[in-house]
Protein backbone atom coordinates (compact mmCIF):
# COMPACT_ATOMS: atom_id res chain seq x y z
CA UNK A 1 0.00 0.00 0.00
CA UNK A 2 1.22 3.49 -0.88
CA UNK A 3 -0.10 6.29 1.29
CA UNK A 4 0.33 10.04 0.93
CA UNK A 5 -0.79 12.10 3.91
CA UNK A 6 -1.14 15.89 3.69
CA UNK A 7 1.78 16.07 1.28
CA UNK A 8 3.02 19.54 0.30
CA UNK A 9 5.76 20.23 -2.23
CA UNK A 10 6.95 23.68 -3.28
CA UNK A 11 9.40 24.88 -5.88
CA UNK A 12 10.52 28.17 -4.40
CA UNK A 13 7.38 30.20 -3.85
CA UNK A 14 5.27 27.99 -6.08
CA UNK A 15 3.17 25.41 -4.23
CA UNK A 16 3.04 22.38 -6.50
CA UNK A 17 1.27 19.92 -4.20
CA UNK A 18 -1.15 21.24 -1.61
CA UNK A 19 -2.06 18.89 1.25
CA UNK A 20 -2.44 15.94 -1.03
CA UNK A 21 -3.91 12.71 0.34
CA UNK A 22 -3.96 9.42 -1.50
CA UNK A 23 -4.04 5.72 -0.79
CA UNK A 24 -3.14 3.18 -3.46
CA UNK A 25 -3.81 -0.45 -2.58
CA UNK A 26 -2.01 -3.54 -3.85
CA UNK A 27 -3.41 -4.50 -7.23
CA UNK A 28 -4.73 -1.06 -8.10
CA UNK A 29 -4.06 0.31 -11.55
CA UNK A 30 -4.29 4.05 -11.10
CA UNK A 31 -4.11 6.52 -13.96
CA UNK A 32 -3.38 10.13 -13.07
CA UNK A 33 -4.69 12.73 -15.49
CA UNK A 34 -4.87 16.50 -15.47
CA UNK A 35 -3.48 19.58 -17.18
CA UNK A 36 0.24 20.35 -17.38
CA UNK A 37 1.56 21.87 -14.19
CA UNK A 38 -1.13 20.27 -12.05
CA UNK A 39 1.46 18.34 -10.02
CA UNK A 40 0.94 14.83 -11.45
CA UNK A 41 4.61 14.07 -12.08
CA UNK A 42 5.68 15.78 -8.87
CA UNK A 43 3.38 13.51 -6.86
CA UNK A 44 4.78 10.43 -8.54
CA UNK A 45 8.37 11.58 -8.11
CA UNK A 46 7.79 12.42 -4.46
CA UNK A 47 6.84 8.79 -3.80
CA UNK A 48 10.34 7.81 -5.02
CA UNK A 49 11.96 10.70 -3.12
CA UNK A 50 13.04 12.36 -6.33
CA UNK A 51 11.24 15.43 -5.05
CA UNK A 52 11.64 16.35 -1.42
CA UNK A 53 8.38 17.05 0.33
CA UNK A 54 7.95 20.19 2.42
CA UNK A 55 5.45 18.71 4.85
CA UNK A 56 3.26 15.67 5.25
CA UNK A 57 4.39 12.06 4.93
CA UNK A 58 4.53 9.27 2.41
CA UNK A 59 4.48 5.57 3.30
CA UNK A 60 5.26 2.56 1.13
CA UNK A 61 4.05 -0.63 2.83
CA UNK A 62 4.16 1.25 6.11
CA UNK A 63 7.77 2.42 5.67
CA UNK A 64 8.15 6.19 5.57
CA UNK A 65 9.83 7.79 2.58
CA UNK A 66 12.82 9.67 4.01
CA UNK A 67 16.15 11.32 3.25
CA UNK A 68 17.92 8.47 5.09
CA UNK A 69 19.75 6.86 2.20
CA UNK A 70 19.86 3.36 3.56
CA UNK A 71 16.17 3.20 4.41
CA UNK A 72 15.29 4.84 1.11
CA UNK A 73 17.24 2.23 -0.83
CA UNK A 74 15.10 -0.50 0.71
CA UNK A 75 11.92 1.39 -0.19
CA UNK A 76 13.11 2.09 -3.73
CA UNK A 77 13.65 -1.62 -4.29
CA UNK A 78 9.86 -1.95 -4.15
CA UNK A 79 9.30 0.86 -6.64
CA UNK A 80 10.01 0.47 -10.34
CA UNK A 81 10.21 3.89 -11.93
CA UNK A 82 9.80 4.67 -15.62
CA UNK A 83 10.61 8.17 -16.83
CA UNK A 84 9.26 10.31 -19.63
CA UNK A 85 12.73 10.56 -21.19
CA UNK A 86 13.62 6.88 -20.51
CA UNK A 87 16.89 7.87 -18.80
CA UNK A 88 18.72 4.76 -19.93
CA UNK A 89 22.48 4.85 -19.39
CA UNK A 90 23.74 5.50 -22.93
CA UNK A 91 27.25 4.11 -22.40
CA UNK A 92 26.01 0.73 -21.15
CA UNK A 93 24.50 -2.03 -23.25
CA UNK A 94 20.85 -2.97 -22.87
CA UNK A 95 21.99 -6.01 -20.90
CA UNK A 96 24.04 -3.91 -18.46
CA UNK A 97 21.27 -1.36 -18.05
CA UNK A 98 18.89 -4.09 -16.96
CA UNK A 99 21.46 -6.06 -14.96
CA UNK A 100 22.71 -3.19 -12.78
CA UNK A 101 20.19 -3.56 -9.98
CA UNK A 102 20.16 -7.40 -9.92
CA UNK A 103 23.97 -7.39 -9.83
CA UNK A 104 24.71 -4.57 -7.39
CA UNK A 105 21.67 -4.42 -5.12
CA UNK A 106 20.06 -7.86 -5.23
CA UNK A 107 23.50 -9.47 -5.67
CA UNK A 108 22.14 -12.29 -7.80
CA UNK A 109 24.37 -14.92 -9.39
CA UNK A 110 25.50 -14.41 -12.98
CA UNK A 111 23.34 -17.28 -14.31
CA UNK A 112 20.28 -15.92 -12.53
CA UNK A 113 20.91 -12.44 -13.91
CA UNK A 114 21.29 -13.81 -17.45
CA UNK A 115 18.02 -15.70 -17.06
CA UNK A 116 16.24 -12.65 -15.64
CA UNK A 117 17.46 -10.35 -18.41
CA UNK A 118 16.42 -12.85 -21.08
CA UNK A 119 12.96 -13.22 -19.54
CA UNK A 120 12.45 -9.48 -19.30
CA UNK A 121 13.67 -8.82 -22.84
CA UNK A 122 11.25 -11.46 -24.04
CA UNK A 123 8.47 -9.79 -22.10
CA UNK A 124 9.09 -6.44 -23.77
CA UNK A 125 9.78 -8.10 -27.12
CA UNK A 126 13.37 -6.99 -27.61
CA UNK A 127 15.46 -10.16 -27.24
CA UNK A 128 17.58 -9.24 -30.24
CA UNK A 129 18.68 -5.92 -28.70
CA UNK A 130 20.47 -7.45 -25.71
CA UNK A 131 23.89 -6.09 -26.64
CA UNK A 132 22.82 -2.87 -28.35
CA UNK A 133 23.50 0.54 -26.89
CA UNK A 134 20.50 2.75 -26.10
CA UNK A 135 21.37 5.41 -28.72
CA UNK A 136 21.00 2.70 -31.36
CA UNK A 137 17.36 2.12 -30.40
CA UNK A 138 14.16 3.96 -31.28
CA UNK A 139 12.29 5.88 -28.59
CA UNK A 140 9.71 3.14 -28.20
CA UNK A 141 12.40 0.51 -27.85
CA UNK A 142 14.25 2.61 -25.30
CA UNK A 143 11.14 3.00 -23.20
CA UNK A 144 10.48 -0.76 -23.33
CA UNK A 145 14.05 -1.36 -22.14
CA UNK A 146 13.50 1.21 -19.39
CA UNK A 147 10.44 -0.76 -18.30
CA UNK A 148 12.50 -3.97 -18.32
CA UNK A 149 15.16 -2.23 -16.22
CA UNK A 150 12.53 -1.21 -13.68
CA UNK A 151 11.02 -4.71 -13.63
CA UNK A 152 14.46 -6.22 -13.00
CA UNK A 153 14.19 -4.79 -9.49
CA UNK A 154 11.27 -7.18 -8.94
CA UNK A 155 9.22 -4.25 -7.68
CA UNK A 156 5.86 -4.40 -5.94
CA UNK A 157 4.77 -1.14 -7.54
CA UNK A 158 5.44 0.43 -10.91
CA UNK A 159 5.44 4.19 -11.27
CA UNK A 160 5.11 5.52 -14.81
CA UNK A 161 5.86 9.20 -15.35
CA UNK A 162 4.29 10.09 -18.72
CA UNK A 163 5.85 7.04 -20.37
CA UNK A 164 4.69 7.93 -23.88
CA UNK A 165 4.86 11.73 -23.88
CA UNK A 166 8.29 11.90 -25.53
CA UNK A 167 7.44 9.34 -28.22
CA UNK A 168 6.41 9.76 -31.83
CA UNK A 169 2.74 8.77 -32.24
CA UNK A 170 3.53 5.59 -34.16
CA UNK A 171 5.76 4.33 -31.31
CA UNK A 172 3.29 4.86 -28.48
CA UNK A 173 1.35 1.65 -29.14
CA UNK A 174 4.25 -0.74 -28.50
CA UNK A 175 4.92 0.83 -25.08
CA UNK A 176 1.26 0.82 -24.06
CA UNK A 177 1.09 -2.83 -25.05
CA UNK A 178 3.80 -3.69 -22.53
CA UNK A 179 2.12 -1.65 -19.78
CA UNK A 180 -1.21 -3.32 -20.54
CA UNK A 181 0.42 -6.73 -20.19
CA UNK A 182 1.71 -5.74 -16.75
CA UNK A 183 -1.76 -4.59 -15.72
CA UNK A 184 -3.17 -7.94 -16.76
CA UNK A 185 -0.56 -9.70 -14.63
CA UNK A 186 -1.86 -7.79 -11.61
CA UNK A 187 1.01 -5.36 -11.12
CA UNK A 188 0.14 -2.39 -8.93
CA UNK A 189 0.72 0.71 -10.99
CA UNK A 190 0.44 4.46 -10.91
CA UNK A 191 0.55 5.92 -14.40
CA UNK A 192 0.74 9.62 -15.12
CA UNK A 193 -0.55 9.92 -18.66
CA UNK A 194 -2.10 12.08 -21.34
CA UNK A 195 -3.43 9.05 -23.19
CA UNK A 196 -7.09 9.23 -22.19
CA UNK A 197 -8.24 6.19 -24.12
CA UNK A 198 -5.49 4.11 -22.63
CA UNK A 199 -6.30 5.35 -19.12
CA UNK A 200 -9.96 4.57 -19.65
CA UNK A 201 -9.18 1.09 -20.87
CA UNK A 202 -6.63 -0.24 -18.39
CA UNK A 203 -7.06 1.75 -15.18
CA UNK A 204 -9.51 0.71 -12.52
CA UNK A 205 -9.17 4.07 -10.92
CA UNK A 206 -8.68 7.56 -12.36
CA UNK A 207 -7.26 10.48 -10.43
CA UNK A 208 -7.94 13.92 -11.85
CA UNK A 209 -5.43 16.46 -10.59
CA UNK A 210 -5.56 20.20 -10.87
CA UNK A 211 -3.51 22.89 -9.20
CA UNK A 212 -1.76 20.59 -6.75
CA UNK A 213 -4.75 18.63 -5.46
CA UNK A 214 -6.78 15.60 -6.50
CA UNK A 215 -10.13 16.99 -7.56
CA UNK A 216 -11.70 13.72 -8.60
CA UNK A 217 -11.00 10.08 -7.79
CA UNK A 218 -13.09 7.21 -9.08
CA UNK A 219 -13.58 4.44 -11.62
CA UNK A 220 -13.04 5.42 -15.27
CA UNK A 221 -16.70 4.97 -16.28
CA UNK A 222 -17.72 7.55 -13.74
CA UNK A 223 -15.01 10.10 -14.45
CA UNK A 224 -15.13 9.93 -18.21
CA UNK A 225 -18.90 9.75 -18.65
CA UNK A 226 -20.18 11.63 -15.66
CA UNK A 227 -17.54 13.90 -14.13
CA UNK A 228 -18.73 15.83 -11.11
CA UNK A 229 -16.18 18.56 -11.10
CA UNK A 230 -16.47 21.49 -13.51
CA UNK A 231 -12.73 21.55 -14.14
CA UNK A 232 -12.67 17.86 -14.99
CA UNK A 233 -15.45 18.47 -17.49
CA UNK A 234 -13.62 21.31 -19.22
CA UNK A 235 -10.32 19.40 -19.18
CA UNK A 236 -11.90 16.36 -20.81
CA UNK A 237 -13.68 18.57 -23.33
CA UNK A 238 -10.38 20.20 -24.40
CA UNK A 239 -8.73 16.81 -24.74
CA UNK A 240 -11.59 15.39 -26.82
CA UNK A 241 -11.61 18.45 -29.07
CA UNK A 242 -7.87 18.19 -29.58
CA UNK A 243 -8.12 14.53 -30.46
CA UNK A 244 -10.95 15.16 -32.89
CA UNK A 245 -8.89 17.87 -34.59
CA UNK A 246 -6.00 15.40 -34.90
CA UNK A 247 -8.26 12.91 -36.66
Amino acid sequence: MIELKDVCVSFGKLDVLKNLNLTVNKGDVVAVIGPSGSGKSTMLRAINHLEVIKSGSIFVDGEQVTSDEKKMRAIRQKLGMVFQLFNLFPHLTVYDNIALNPRLIQKLKKEDIDQLVDDLLKKVGLEEKKFSYPPQLSGGQMQRIAIARALAMKPDYMLFDEPTSALDPELIGEVLLVIRKLAEEGMTMIIVTHEMNFAKEIADRILMMDDGIIIEDGPPEEIFTNPKNERTKSFLRTITEREQKKN
Binding site: V16, S38, L50, R76, Q77, H91, Y133, P135, Q136
Partner: protein
Amino acid sequence: MDFSWLPRYSGLITKSLFMTLKLSGLAIVFGMILGVIVGVLLTSKVKPIKYILRAYVELFRGAPLLIQLFMVFFGLAYIHINISLSTTVILVFTLYTGAYVAEITRSGIESIPTGQWEAAHSIGLNYFQIMRIVILPQIITIALPSLIGFFIGMTKDTSLASIIGYSELVKNAQTVMTTTSRPFETYIVVGILYFIICYPMSRFVVFVEDRIRRRQKGIYPVNKTMVKREEFGSA
Protein backbone atom coordinates in the same frame (compact mmCIF):
# COMPACT_ATOMS: atom_id res chain seq x y z
CA MET B 1 73.95 23.42 -41.24
CA ASP B 2 76.21 21.25 -39.20
CA PHE B 3 74.94 18.30 -37.19
CA SER B 4 78.33 16.63 -36.72
CA TRP B 5 78.13 17.37 -32.95
CA LEU B 6 74.97 15.34 -32.57
CA PRO B 7 76.46 11.84 -31.91
CA ARG B 8 78.70 13.28 -29.19
CA TYR B 9 75.74 14.70 -27.32
CA SER B 10 73.19 11.97 -28.04
CA GLY B 11 73.58 10.57 -24.54
CA LEU B 12 72.78 13.90 -22.92
CA ILE B 13 69.88 14.54 -25.29
CA THR B 14 68.37 11.11 -24.63
CA LYS B 15 68.67 11.71 -20.91
CA SER B 16 66.97 15.09 -21.16
CA LEU B 17 64.24 13.64 -23.35
CA PHE B 18 63.65 11.11 -20.60
CA MET B 19 63.49 13.92 -18.02
CA THR B 20 60.88 15.77 -20.08
CA LEU B 21 58.83 12.59 -20.50
CA LYS B 22 59.16 11.78 -16.80
CA LEU B 23 57.94 15.22 -15.79
CA SER B 24 54.96 15.31 -18.12
CA GLY B 25 54.11 11.64 -17.50
CA LEU B 26 54.10 11.99 -13.72
CA ALA B 27 52.18 15.27 -13.93
CA ILE B 28 49.54 13.54 -16.07
CA VAL B 29 49.19 10.56 -13.73
CA PHE B 30 49.16 12.50 -10.44
CA GLY B 31 47.28 15.43 -11.97
CA MET B 32 44.54 13.10 -13.22
CA ILE B 33 44.12 11.50 -9.81
CA LEU B 34 44.10 14.89 -8.07
CA GLY B 35 41.93 16.53 -10.71
CA VAL B 36 39.20 13.87 -10.80
CA ILE B 37 38.92 13.90 -6.99
CA VAL B 38 38.83 17.72 -6.87
CA GLY B 39 36.41 17.86 -9.81
CA VAL B 40 33.98 15.48 -8.11
CA LEU B 41 34.24 17.43 -4.84
CA LEU B 42 33.58 20.69 -6.71
CA THR B 43 30.10 19.38 -7.48
CA SER B 44 29.44 18.41 -3.85
CA LYS B 45 27.01 20.28 -1.68
CA VAL B 46 29.49 20.87 1.17
CA LYS B 47 30.17 24.57 0.78
CA PRO B 48 33.51 25.05 2.69
CA ILE B 49 35.19 22.24 0.73
CA LYS B 50 33.84 23.69 -2.47
CA TYR B 51 35.16 27.20 -1.78
CA ILE B 52 38.64 26.03 -0.80
CA LEU B 53 38.94 23.84 -3.89
CA ARG B 54 37.51 26.56 -6.10
CA ALA B 55 40.25 28.91 -4.82
CA TYR B 56 42.91 26.31 -5.65
CA VAL B 57 41.55 25.73 -9.15
CA GLU B 58 41.23 29.43 -9.94
CA LEU B 59 44.71 30.18 -8.59
CA PHE B 60 46.41 27.50 -10.67
CA ARG B 61 44.37 28.22 -13.77
CA GLY B 62 44.69 31.97 -13.43
CA ALA B 63 48.40 32.47 -12.70
CA PRO B 64 51.05 31.91 -15.39
CA LEU B 65 52.78 28.58 -15.02
CA LEU B 66 56.14 30.32 -14.80
CA ILE B 67 54.96 32.36 -11.80
CA GLN B 68 53.65 29.16 -10.18
CA LEU B 69 57.08 27.61 -10.59
CA PHE B 70 58.77 30.64 -9.03
CA MET B 71 56.25 30.87 -6.21
CA VAL B 72 56.57 27.26 -5.17
CA PHE B 73 60.32 27.13 -5.76
CA PHE B 74 61.10 30.26 -3.71
CA GLY B 75 58.10 29.85 -1.40
CA LEU B 76 59.23 26.43 -0.17
CA ALA B 77 62.72 27.77 0.45
CA TYR B 78 61.22 30.73 2.31
CA ILE B 79 59.35 28.49 4.74
CA HIS B 80 62.42 26.22 5.03
CA ILE B 81 60.99 23.17 3.36
CA ASN B 82 63.75 21.33 1.59
CA ILE B 83 62.65 19.12 -1.26
CA SER B 84 64.64 18.33 -4.35
CA LEU B 85 64.33 20.46 -7.45
CA SER B 86 62.81 17.60 -9.40
CA THR B 87 60.16 16.98 -6.70
CA THR B 88 59.32 20.69 -6.67
CA VAL B 89 58.86 20.77 -10.42
CA ILE B 90 56.72 17.63 -10.43
CA LEU B 91 54.63 19.11 -7.60
CA VAL B 92 53.96 22.33 -9.53
CA PHE B 93 53.07 20.55 -12.75
CA THR B 94 50.81 18.16 -10.84
CA LEU B 95 48.97 21.05 -9.17
CA TYR B 96 48.71 22.85 -12.51
CA THR B 97 47.41 19.77 -14.33
CA GLY B 98 45.10 18.91 -11.42
CA ALA B 99 43.43 22.32 -11.61
CA TYR B 100 42.63 21.92 -15.29
CA VAL B 101 41.52 18.29 -14.99
CA ALA B 102 39.29 19.30 -12.05
CA GLU B 103 37.58 21.95 -14.14
CA ILE B 104 37.10 19.56 -17.07
CA THR B 105 35.72 16.91 -14.69
CA ARG B 106 33.37 19.36 -12.98
CA SER B 107 31.93 20.70 -16.21
CA GLY B 108 31.61 17.12 -17.47
CA ILE B 109 29.68 16.01 -14.40
CA GLU B 110 27.36 19.00 -14.68
CA SER B 111 26.74 18.32 -18.36
CA ILE B 112 25.20 14.93 -17.59
CA PRO B 113 21.38 15.30 -17.62
CA THR B 114 19.77 15.08 -14.16
CA GLY B 115 17.64 12.24 -15.49
CA GLN B 116 20.71 10.01 -15.32
CA TRP B 117 21.03 10.70 -11.60
CA GLU B 118 17.34 10.15 -11.03
CA ALA B 119 17.31 6.86 -12.89
CA ALA B 120 20.39 5.69 -11.01
CA HIS B 121 18.87 6.69 -7.67
CA SER B 122 15.60 5.00 -8.56
CA ILE B 123 17.33 1.67 -9.13
CA GLY B 124 18.97 2.03 -5.73
CA LEU B 125 22.58 2.92 -6.51
CA ASN B 126 24.48 4.96 -3.93
CA TYR B 127 26.50 8.11 -4.65
CA PHE B 128 29.79 6.30 -5.26
CA GLN B 129 28.21 3.69 -7.49
CA ILE B 130 26.49 6.41 -9.51
CA MET B 131 29.77 8.32 -9.95
CA ARG B 132 31.78 5.22 -10.83
CA ILE B 133 29.28 3.42 -13.05
CA VAL B 134 27.02 6.08 -14.51
CA ILE B 135 28.58 9.54 -14.45
CA LEU B 136 32.39 9.31 -14.80
CA PRO B 137 32.42 6.81 -17.69
CA GLN B 138 30.13 9.12 -19.64
CA ILE B 139 32.37 12.09 -18.97
CA ILE B 140 35.51 10.32 -20.14
CA THR B 141 34.16 9.97 -23.65
CA ILE B 142 33.09 13.62 -23.69
CA ALA B 143 36.20 15.02 -22.00
CA LEU B 144 39.00 12.93 -23.51
CA PRO B 145 39.71 15.20 -26.49
CA SER B 146 40.01 18.33 -24.34
CA LEU B 147 42.03 16.42 -21.74
CA ILE B 148 44.57 15.23 -24.26
CA GLY B 149 44.65 18.68 -25.82
CA PHE B 150 45.59 20.02 -22.42
CA PHE B 151 48.23 17.31 -21.91
CA ILE B 152 49.86 18.24 -25.21
CA GLY B 153 50.04 21.88 -24.18
CA MET B 154 51.31 20.98 -20.72
CA THR B 155 54.03 18.73 -22.15
CA LYS B 156 55.31 21.62 -24.25
CA ASP B 157 55.14 23.88 -21.18
CA THR B 158 57.50 21.59 -19.28
CA SER B 159 60.20 23.59 -21.09
CA LEU B 160 59.50 26.35 -18.54
CA ALA B 161 61.02 24.12 -15.85
CA SER B 162 64.41 24.85 -17.42
CA ILE B 163 64.22 28.37 -15.99
CA ILE B 164 64.55 27.13 -12.42
CA GLY B 165 67.22 24.67 -13.47
CA TYR B 166 65.41 21.35 -14.04
CA SER B 167 67.50 19.54 -16.63
CA GLU B 168 64.96 18.67 -19.26
CA LEU B 169 65.31 19.16 -23.03
CA VAL B 170 65.51 22.94 -23.20
CA LYS B 171 67.85 23.30 -20.23
CA ASN B 172 70.34 20.79 -21.62
CA ALA B 173 69.95 22.21 -25.09
CA GLN B 174 71.37 25.43 -23.68
CA THR B 175 74.41 23.52 -22.45
CA VAL B 176 74.84 21.84 -25.81
CA MET B 177 74.41 25.13 -27.59
CA THR B 178 77.05 26.99 -25.59
CA THR B 179 79.65 24.29 -26.08
CA THR B 180 78.94 23.67 -29.79
CA SER B 181 78.01 27.23 -30.78
CA ARG B 182 75.30 25.73 -32.96
CA PRO B 183 72.08 27.27 -31.54
CA PHE B 184 69.95 26.90 -34.68
CA GLU B 185 70.72 23.22 -35.21
CA THR B 186 70.36 22.46 -31.50
CA TYR B 187 66.88 23.93 -31.36
CA ILE B 188 65.88 22.14 -34.55
CA VAL B 189 66.73 18.85 -32.81
CA VAL B 190 64.84 19.89 -29.66
CA GLY B 191 61.82 21.00 -31.72
CA ILE B 192 61.71 17.66 -33.55
CA LEU B 193 61.86 15.79 -30.23
CA TYR B 194 58.85 17.73 -28.87
CA PHE B 195 57.02 17.00 -32.08
CA ILE B 196 57.77 13.28 -31.72
CA ILE B 197 56.21 13.33 -28.23
CA CYS B 198 53.17 15.44 -29.06
CA TYR B 199 52.16 14.30 -32.52
CA PRO B 200 51.13 10.75 -31.46
CA MET B 201 49.01 12.29 -28.71
CA SER B 202 47.09 14.46 -31.14
CA ARG B 203 46.64 11.50 -33.49
CA PHE B 204 45.32 9.55 -30.52
CA VAL B 205 42.59 12.18 -30.00
CA VAL B 206 41.45 11.78 -33.59
CA PHE B 207 41.45 7.99 -33.20
CA VAL B 208 39.46 8.08 -29.96
CA GLU B 209 36.93 10.62 -31.24
CA ASP B 210 36.35 8.48 -34.29
CA ARG B 211 35.86 5.37 -32.19
CA ILE B 212 33.41 7.06 -29.85
CA ARG B 213 31.44 8.40 -32.77
CA ARG B 214 31.20 5.02 -34.37
CA ARG B 215 30.39 3.07 -31.22
CA GLN B 216 27.70 5.37 -29.97
CA LYS B 217 26.25 6.36 -33.28
CA GLY B 218 23.48 8.84 -32.75
CA ILE B 219 24.23 9.48 -29.09
CA TYR B 220 24.59 13.25 -29.42
CA PRO B 221 21.18 14.03 -30.95
CA VAL B 222 19.56 11.92 -28.21
CA ASN B 223 21.35 13.80 -25.45
CA LYS B 224 20.49 17.14 -26.99
CA THR B 225 16.76 16.43 -27.00
CA MET B 226 17.05 15.18 -23.43
CA VAL B 227 18.49 18.47 -22.27
CA LYS B 228 16.02 20.52 -24.26
CA ARG B 229 13.02 18.67 -22.97
CA GLU B 230 14.22 18.89 -19.42
CA GLU B 231 14.46 22.63 -19.67
CA PHE B 232 10.75 22.71 -20.37
CA GLY B 233 10.21 20.52 -17.33
CA SER B 234 7.28 18.23 -16.70
CA ALA B 235 4.84 18.63 -13.89
